[in-house]
C-alpha cells in the first residue's frame, strides 16, 4: 500500500507530466501549423486562361495590395459553378478571404469560364469603399472590354488599377471607409464576361475631333473627347503613330472616365517647345505626381497628341504616380531638362 507522501508525490509527478505533455503538444501543434500552413494562393486558374507572365503580374500586384492597403484580394478562374452568386459567398467563407488582410478586408474575383460570367465578391469590411454600383462599373466598363479581346489577365490587372484608385481616393478624402466585419454578405456584382467575343464596334466610333492650332487647344479637345467617351482611334487630333497604336489597343469607358477625373484638378505650366518648334510638352508642377505630362507633335500644320511615345516613356507606380520608364530615351526630354530623375525615373526638383 502506498503511503500518503508517496501518493502526493506520484500525483504531483503525474500532474507535472500532464502539463509538460500539454505544453509539448501545444508547441508542436503551433509549430506544425506555422510550418505547414501555406500562404494563401492569390491566383488559381482551373481554365488555363492566364499566361504565366500574366499570372505573375497579378500575383505581384495583389501582393502589393495586401502589403500596402491590407486587402486580401484573390482570383479564381473556375469551370461551371451552378450559381456563381451563391458559390462566391460560400467560397469566400471557405477560403477565409480577408484573413490575410487587415480588419477582414477581402475581395474575391471569380471568373466562370464555362458560364462566361464574372463576379467580384466584396467582403463586409470593404462594402463601404466598394459599393455594388462601383463594382459593376469596374466590371462592365473596364474588365469586360479586355475580356472581349481575349485578354483576361489584362482585364484583371486593369480592374485592380481602378480598385487601387478608389482606395486611394478614400484615403485622400480622410479615411478608408471600412466596417469591422468578416466574411461576405453577398456584396459585389456579377456580369456577363463575354470572353473572346469581338469588341462592340460602336464603341470605337465617334464624331471627328480636329487637332488644335496650339498644343493647349489639342490637349483640351482630347479631354473633351474623353469626357464624351469618344474611343475612335482615328481622330484627327492623334499623331500618325498614335493612331496605329490605338487601333491595336483596348480602350475602355472606365479608362476614359478615369482620365478625365485624373486631370480635373491638374494645373498646367506654360507649354515648352523644342528648338525646332515641332514638339511640345505640357507638364504640371513636380508635386502634382498624378498629372502626367502631354507630348505633342506638329504634323500637317496642326498639333497632335503623341500618345505612342508617352505610352512607352511613361509608367505609373503602385500609387498611380507617374514616372519615366527606366532608361527611356525619347524626343521630349527637352521638356524636363530642369528636373532630375531618381534611379526609378521619378522626377525630382
Amino acid at each position: 500500500m502506498l503511503d500518503h507522501s508517496a501518493w502526493n508525490s506520484a500525483g504531483r509527478g503525474l500532474a507535472a507530466l500532464c502539463v509538460c505533455a500539454a505544453l509539448a503538444l501545444a508547441l508542436a501543434l503551433g509549430c506544425s501549423r506555422d510550418a505547414l500552413a501555406p500562404a494563401p494562393a492569390i491566383v488559381r486558374d482551373d481554365a488555363g486562361l492566364l499566361a504565366d507572365a500574366q499570372r505573375a503580374a497579378i500575383e505581384s500586384q495583389h501582393a502589393f495590395l495586401r502589403s500596402d492597403y491590407g486587402i486580401d484580394y484573390r482570383v479564381e478562374i473556375i469551370r461551371g459553378a451552378a450559381d456563381l452568386d451563391t458559390f462566391a459567398a460560400s467560397r469566400f467563407h471557405e477560403l477565409e478571404i480577408g484573413s490575410a488582410g487587415r480588419g477582414g478586408r477581402g475581395l474575391l474575383l471569380l471568373i466562370d469560364a464555362e458560364a462566361d460570367q464574372v463576379r467580384l465578391e466584396v467582403g463586409r469590411a470593404m462594402e463601404g469603399s466598394f459599393p455594388d454600383a462601383f463594382v459593376a462599373w469596374v466590371e462592365q466598363r473596364q474588365m469586360v472590354p479586355f475580356f472581349r479581346a481575349g485578354a483576361v489577365g489584362d482585364g484583371i490587372l486593369a480592374a485592380t488599377e481602378l480598385l487601387v484608385a478608389q482606395v486611394q481616393s478614400e484615403l485622400a478624402s480622410g479615411g478608408f471607409a471600412e466596417l469591422a466585419a468578416e466574411g461576405s454578405a453577398g456584396g459585389g456584382a456579377r456580369t456577363a464576361a463575354h470572353i473572346g467575343e469581338l469588341p462592340d464596334p460602336a464603341l470605337r466610333e465617334g464624331p471627328e475631333v480636329p487637332a488644335g492650332d496650339s498644343p493647349e487647344a489639342t490637349a483640351a479637345a482630347y479631354l473633351l473627347a474623353m469626357r464624351a467617351r469618344n474611343a475612335d482611334p482615328d481622330l484627327d487630333l492623334y499623331s500618325a503613330a498614335t493612331r496605329v497604336m490605338l487601333a491595336r489597343r483596348v480602350v475602355t469607358l472606365a479608362q476614359m472616365d478615369t482620365l478625365v477625373r485624373m486631370y480635373r484638378d491638374c494645373r498646367a505650366e506654360p507649354v515648352r517647345l523644342d528648338a525646332s518648334g515641332v514638339r511640345a510638352v505640357i507638364r504640371y508642377p513636380i508635386e502634382a505626381r498624378r498629372c502626367p505630362p502631354w507630348f505633342l507633335v506638329r504634323e500637317g500644320e496642326r498639333w497632335r497628341l503623341d500618345l505612342a511615345t508617352a505610352s512607352s516613356a511613361i509608367r505609373f507606380g503602385r500609387d498611380n504616380t507617374w514616372h519615366f520608364a527606366a532608361g527611356a530615351a525619347h524626343l521630349y526630354a527637352f521638356g524636363f531638362a530642369d528636373w532630375t530623375l531618381d534611379r526609378n525615373g521619378y522626377p525630382r526638383g
Binding site: 503511503d3 500518503h4 452568386d85 459593376a136 462599373w137 462592365q140 454578405a185 459585389g188 456584382a189 456579377r190
Partner: protein, 215 residues
C-alpha cells in the same frame, strides 16, 4: 495516537480506501457542481443558438429593407424613359407598399405559415422588380445609362444579400432546431417551452429578381 505508534515514519495513518472527510465533501461538491455547470452550459448553448437565429433574422430584415429603399429611385429613373409602361411601375410600387407594410420584428416569425406569408410579399416585390428591369432593358438609351446601370447593380446586390441572408438564417435555424431536439437539451427546451423555428422554403421571395444578372 502518535504517528510513531502506527509504525509509520512521520506519515498520517490513513488508508487509501478510506477518504478523509474533506475529500468526501469535495466529491459531493463535484457531484453537485458538475451537473449544475453542465446544465448552465447547455442552457447557454441553447440561448446562444437562439440569439444567432435572431441575429441572422436581423440580417434578413436589413436586406429586405435595403431592397425596398432602392425602389423609389429605380421607379423615378425608369419613369423618365418609360411613360407607356405605367402598369409595370404601378405594380412595383404596390408590391413595395405591401412588402414594407409587414411589421419588422426583432424575432423571426414563429410559424411556417407566417414566414411563408412574408416570403410571398417579398417574392411579389422581387418578381415585379425583375419585370421592370426586363422592360427597362429593352430601351437601349436607358440600358446604356450609367445611372440605370448603378441602380440595377445595387438592386442585384440587394437581391443577392437577401439570398445570402436567408441561407445564413436557415443555417442558424438548423443549428438551433438540432440543439433543442437533442437530449438532454430537449428536456430543457420542453421545460422552457422552446419551439423549433421556421425555415425559409426554397429561397421563397428572393427568387423573383435573382436572375437580374448584369449584361
Amino acid at each position: 495516537m502518535s504517528w510513531e505508534t502506527s509504525g509509520g515514519v512521520g506519515v498520517p495513518p490513513i488508508a487509501l480506501g478510506q477518504p478523509r472527510p474533506g475529500l468526501r465533501l469535495a466529491l459531493v461538491a463535484i457531484g453537485v457542481l458538475v451537473p449544475l455547470l453542465a446544465g448552465f452550459a447547455l442552457h447557454n448553448h441553447v440561448v446562444s443558438r437562439g440569439e444567432a437565429v435572431d441575429a441572422a433574422w436581423a440580417q434578413v430584415e436589413s436586406a429586405h429593407q435595403r431592397r425596398a429603399d432602392l425602389v423609389p429611385a429605380l421607379v423615378e429613373t425608369v419613369k423618365r424613359h418609360l411613360r407607356q409602361e405605367s402598369e409595370t411601375l404601378v405594380a412595383v410600387i404596390e408590391a413595395r407598399s405591401q412588402a414594407v407594410r409587414l411589421p419588422a420584428s426583432e424575432h423571426p416569425p414563429a410559424s411556417e405559415a407566417e414566414l411563408s406569408r412574408l416570403g410571398r410579399a417579398q417574392g411579389e416585390l422581387g418578381r415585379d422588380l425583375a419585370r421592370l428591369v426586363a422592360v427597362a432593358e429593352t430601351y437601349p438609351e436607358l440600358r446604356s445609362a450609367d445611372s440605370f446601370l448603378a441602380l440595377q447593380a445595387q438592386l442585384e446586390g440587394a437581391e443577392n444579400r437577401i439570398h445570402v441572408a436567408r441561407l445564413e438564417y436557415n443555417d442558424a435555424v438548423r443549428a438551433y432546431n438540432a440543439a433543442i431536439q437533442q437530449l438532454p437539451a430537449a428536456w430543457l427546451a420542453e421545460a422552457r417551452g422552446l419551439q423549433r423555428r421556421a425555415y425559409f422554403e426554397s429561397d421563397e421571395g428572393a427568387e423573383g429578381a435573382r436572375p437580374l444578372g448584369l449584361e
